[in-house]
Symmetry: C2
Subunit: 422 residues, 2 copies
């Protein structure tokens, strides 16, 4: 074990430099086609232009009577206008005749407006509804202008209209709209395939009961969940023993992005950086941040590789700073963190080291930001007890009480309410 390798990194890349390298290697993956029912929360690969009008016919928007507006001009309870009902129009079952002056067709919301009619007189503006199949009279006691309560051809979507832009993260209503224009197959950005290689002789498989000097792999399932959150397709490989050939093999499976957890530093047992340097490019190794300084990035077989520290808090932090950014970008998503932000005052002083970006877990207590006391990089429970984290930039010596800070919240908008049903 050489002196230099036991004493840590000779120099560290700044977070800004590391991000600059990374951003220079990001692109959006190619498109694939998915069926409509799988399209929500995918990213549109192309701008979608409608080839149809929606609706393709003029449509009544109220329950009432399709009429000629001129017929009922000035109608009122004191001067009603009598119209002869000649039929009805239902959704999908239009009236086939023509509305001549003096006649009306009973129409339901969403039904085609019959030829000859130019407006719908709502049922509320009629009296004496005695319509029997194909006959009877109504009295109009109010009037409507031409076009009233009618949705014209293409009023929702017109032929040739751009309905949704490339890059759109599809919302539920977007999927509905794509359905309405007849798009059964949706061109979306392919999801990045992410290979997660967890390494370490001390690791038991995820969820195994820890025993003796071995611990269960926690980074593997955590990274699976993070990758899924960020729109990637995660494949967990491992735990892999600390043997260079085994790790290299595991890194070389099919993927767009490779994450290696553990053995990312400069110690004798830290294989991954050496492998990446030997077989690919180790572009960044050692980053001026706390935790996660033993993080590496590079290229192997043309694919981005992230070397994430084995300590779980460091792994989470390094994932969020670098790997998650890449996975989101490849999939066409925002590179920004998918965490909500709140600005709140600090409950107490925080010290920070100049020269490194600090990731601090915090709790929100009575509207104030309380840094967690126990916060070692190996203490995963610090991230489950925390409500979120704050970032201190590298030029920050610390912050005073009451300083307003931006908190990134770990929780989700659907975080369970403890008040419902319990």
């Amino acid at each position: 074990m050489s002196d230099v390798r036991m004493k840590g990194f000779a120099r560290r890349t700044t977070v800004a430099q590391a991000l600059a390298w990374l951003d220079g290697h990001l692109c959006i993956l190619a498109e694939e086609v998915v069926p409509l029912e799988k399209a929500a929360r995918r990213v549109l690969a192309r701008t979608i232009v409608s080839s149809v009008n929606v609706p393709g016919f003029a449509r009544g928007m109220m329950d009432g009577y399709a009429i000629r507006a001129a017929d009922v001009q000035g109608a009122s309870p004191y001067g009603p206008v009598v119209l002869r009902v000649i039929g009805r129009s239902l959704p999908g079952r239009p009236f086939q005749g023509v509305v001549e002056s003096g006649t009306a067709v009973c129409i339901m919301t969403g039904a085609p407006l019959p030829a000859g009619a130019d407006a719908v007189l709502p049922a509320e503006l009629t009296e004496n509804q005695q319509w029997i199949k194909g006959g009877g009279e109504i009295r109009a006691v109010g009037d409507v202008g031409p076009g009233k309560h009618v949705s014209g051809i293409g009023s929702d979507v017109a032929v040739g209209q751009e309905v949704l832009p490339a890059g759109r993260l599809l919302r539920p209503q977007d999927v509905g709209l794509l359905s309405s224009i007849g798009l059964a197959d949706v061109p979306v950005v392919r999801c990045p395939r992410v290979r997660i290689v967890t390494t370490g002789d001390e690791l038991l498989p995820a969820g195994a009961r820890p025993a003796g000097y071995r611990i269960a792999d926690s980074n593997g399932p955590m990274l699976q969940a993070l990758v899924t959150r960020d729109g990637g397709l995660a494949e967990l490989v491992g735990p892999v023993a600390d043997q260079p050939e085994a790790i290299l093999d595991a890194m070389r499976g099919p993927a767009d992005v490779v994450l290696v957890s553990g053995g990312s530093s400069v110690g004798e047992e830290d294989c991954a950086p050496v492998l990446l340097r030997q077989h690919g490019q180790l572009a960044v190794h050692g980053i001026a941040m706390r935790p996660s300084s033993p993080t590496g990035m590079g290229i192997l077989d043309g694919r981005l590789v992230f070397l994430l520290p084995g300590n779980p808090v460091s792994c989470l932090c390094a994932y969020d700073f670098f790997a998650g950014r890449a996975i989101r970008a490849l999939g066409g998503r925002s590179v920004e963190w998918p965490y909500r932000r709140v600005r709140l005052p600090l409950a107490r002083k925080i010290a920070s080291h100049i020269g490194s970006v600090d990731y601090l877990r915090v709790r929100l207590i009575d509207g104030q930001v309380e840094p967690l006391a126990i916060s070692g990089a190996s203490i995963l429970s610090s991230t489950t007890r925390a409500d979120g984290f704050i970032i201190l930039p590298e030029n920050c010596e610390g912050l005073l009480p009451d300083a307003e800070v931006e908190v990134f919240l770990y929780d989700d908008l659907q975080a369970a309410s403890r008040h419902v049903g319990r």
Copy 2:
């Protein structure tokens, strides 16, 4: 067609009354067990108590030397202390002997602390590292106190500790933590099965090219995406023709919640409310809100049924007010809308009807809230052009320009950035 049925609802339930009825019928579903890799974003059904210590052994937290702290007390570059290196401890491969006074064991981050040692002296505080397999000497040029750079037994999680509470929406790091305590199978709240029945003679299947007087079902795929967003398992049935037997059959398939889209009003062709009244309970029908007033709720075969208007904007709005709330609650999630909120000033005046809750689609332009001009309940594209919506309570006559309003944003935190890679 009777007069009363053509003229709309005799009276409408208020939104508050409708929600009160609904909340009285919500409970959390039973638990099921899922493997760890499926646990993220599920809701914990029980508080989890650890049956193990993590770590189960004292662990070195730095690369360096496991020592007796007393040995190096006062060591400095001017008064180094020489220690004999008697072996090494690697993660999963502990040193089996005992650290006696005057000796040290080379230790890597995460490796078990050998017996006899009580601290780790970081490599940075040593000189003359000439450790060769099992031999050599180091010079300590700094000191550490007992326990320094050591993570004790149970320092992350202790036996008997409650690690995560019932009702927790599991985060990626939570899944990592559950893995670390050996929980391969996670008890979570079962996902509500939601049967989506879209009805209407005018409907073609989702994604079909509209033709003649028929339109493609847009509510079905939109509801599928909404249900999935809210943690439900969606099954789309339909489109079903406007025939009572067919609709009743479709409503009676296996589910925890049934959504019926279309035919929810009081017209002749509106079968669903009649069916629900005949075969179950139609508890709420007609709600004082715009759009979505022809919304119904009830119980059929012991299951919640939501009658959603066929107009797509009304369908979306009624889903969000009522059905989504129920689906989230059954699955143990927050009943609140999963939309981010921002407070911004109105760009212009808004008029509103007293006596109904209004759902208005808006755009955000230059930091101001601009109501959409085209916003009929049939215009689904109004919800894809909008950035979000605002809610005007029933006692609101309208709002003046510059009034600050709360906007619920449709988009997701991962909404694609148009600046990356394009």
